[in-house]
Amino acid sequence: METLEQTLARAAVAAPGAQLSVVKNDSPCAQHSLLVDVEHAYAVAKFLRDDPQLRLDYCSNVTGVDFLDAELSEKVKVKKVVDGVEKEVEEVKKTKRAGYLEAVYHLYSMALKHGPVILRQRTPGRADPVKVTSLTPLWRSCEFQEREVFDLYGVLFDGHPDLRRILMWDGFKDYPMRKDYAEPDDYEYEPTPHDEVLEKAKAHLPKAEVKA
């Protein structure tokens, strides 16, 4: 199977205008992924499915990931002139990163028995509405999984035929898998509380007993 860089180069030709990049994965399994912009996701995915060399006919896993606003600290080697001598000094560079939501697709080929090729779509920010392109028209297997991502992360999928809540009830307003989801306060009886739960449980105790 070709490398992800080769795939990227050919996909860029097949879907002109697509902004593609490789997201490196540092873990030992080295499953790098292909980041594609939301507008061209459909064209790129179609290329991945239909290309005779790849034939990624099987979309195994679709999932959402929530990244909060974060401050990244990076160690950068900077050349500095210290006491008249040029030296390489490590500096911690801090950058602010706006939060975003991702939809991740794991693609395999049943015909050629290879994979995975990982495709990512990223939303510009976390403020609603967050939109990506649905790949359900290409792979039916995305149907329920994209609904699940919509239900739990609140990501809207453009072109999904039946985008409703799947796991929670219809009147539910929150997106519970987001990292900043706050649970309803329901900590009346917590005999073995810890940390956060302890604080929440204390709020439910009768006032006199808190003093004691």
Binding site: H106, R140, S141, P161, R165, M177
Partner: protein, 398 residues
Amino acid sequence: MDGTQFMTFHDLAYDAGKTDFQRKAEVIGVGREGELLEVAMGPQHPSTHGVFRMDVVLDGETVVKLKPVFGYLHRNHEKIAENTSYLGSMPYTDRLDYFCSLTNNWAYALAVEKLAGLQVPERAEYIRLITAELTRVLNHTCLAGFLLQDMGALGTPLMYAFREREKILDLFESLTGARMMCNYMRFGGCRCDLPAGWLAEARKVVAEYPKFLDEFDALLSGNEILMARTQGVGKLSAELAINAGITGPMLRASGVDYDLRKVDNYGIYSRYPFRVPLGDHGDVYDRYMIRMLEMRESLKILEPALKDIPEGPVVDPKAKLRGFRPKPGEAYGRIETPKGELGFYLISDGSPNPYRYRVRPPSLINLTILEDMCLGQTVADAVITLGSVDIVLGEVDR
């Protein structure tokens, strides 16, 4: 909708300019007018294998629309796992597909081993293979019982299946301490070594199992009522099965040769020759037969594996039990569980808890085409079609 090769209810349903009934009529090829009846089957229904619900629209007895409704057992496994350590999620994986806790353990352990680059000692690989194949036999036995229960064969096949299940559960209990929720595998191996005499017991169970399979075959496989009820029912074509991401015995019943034990070669499956049974018609009967045949193949793997198992450690000495923090990165690990491809997608940010923990549930994705399989059939056939998909709600809703 370009790009879709298959006419499904969705494609039509979202074409404009037709009445609802016209669309339904086009899908199932009926033109006659009649009153439609909406039935909500489940969540408390004896044939839905737990708390699954199907909203079925019936024209007489014919299914014209079927919408599965999920979430009645959505117990937030993923959210809880993101607030727990890597080790702490292991017992929760038992409760995904509660028939096959050991294969769930393996899938999760495999994903974490990929994430952290751990090696598994030889003996542990053997134990994993043996327990996973025993789990497969156990699951398929119970499925045959439940499928027959759905068909109206109340009692007998399920009783026989549970009788055999208890034998394997006894093995699991003496190995892991629990009947169902084994919590046995660890990152880089297994929790403890085999107890004395376990191998002999396992060999005995494996040696006697074909007798039970023969009995089951004689009881069921040639039974004319079973054939009449299942053959030609719930057909699924190979193309649609691939496109809809169906995995496991259901995919192979449609004739697609895709078994992760052969494709991914995880564990030590490459050392044992076994055949992958393939179906021809993709109907309920094929799905039933595939499972009967798979059990025999599993026994063929088990027999030599129980002889070959070497001595040695059962866990990678480098693997830490507490304070396990993989380096930042991500990994997707998958194995062939009795239900299909169970995958775990993990993102680590270097902290003791996974940043993202995702289960790719075979049961949920195998239900994607439930509507396509049931359209135009009677409601009684919809029940057995669902039974042949082999779902466990713990995994569907997580």
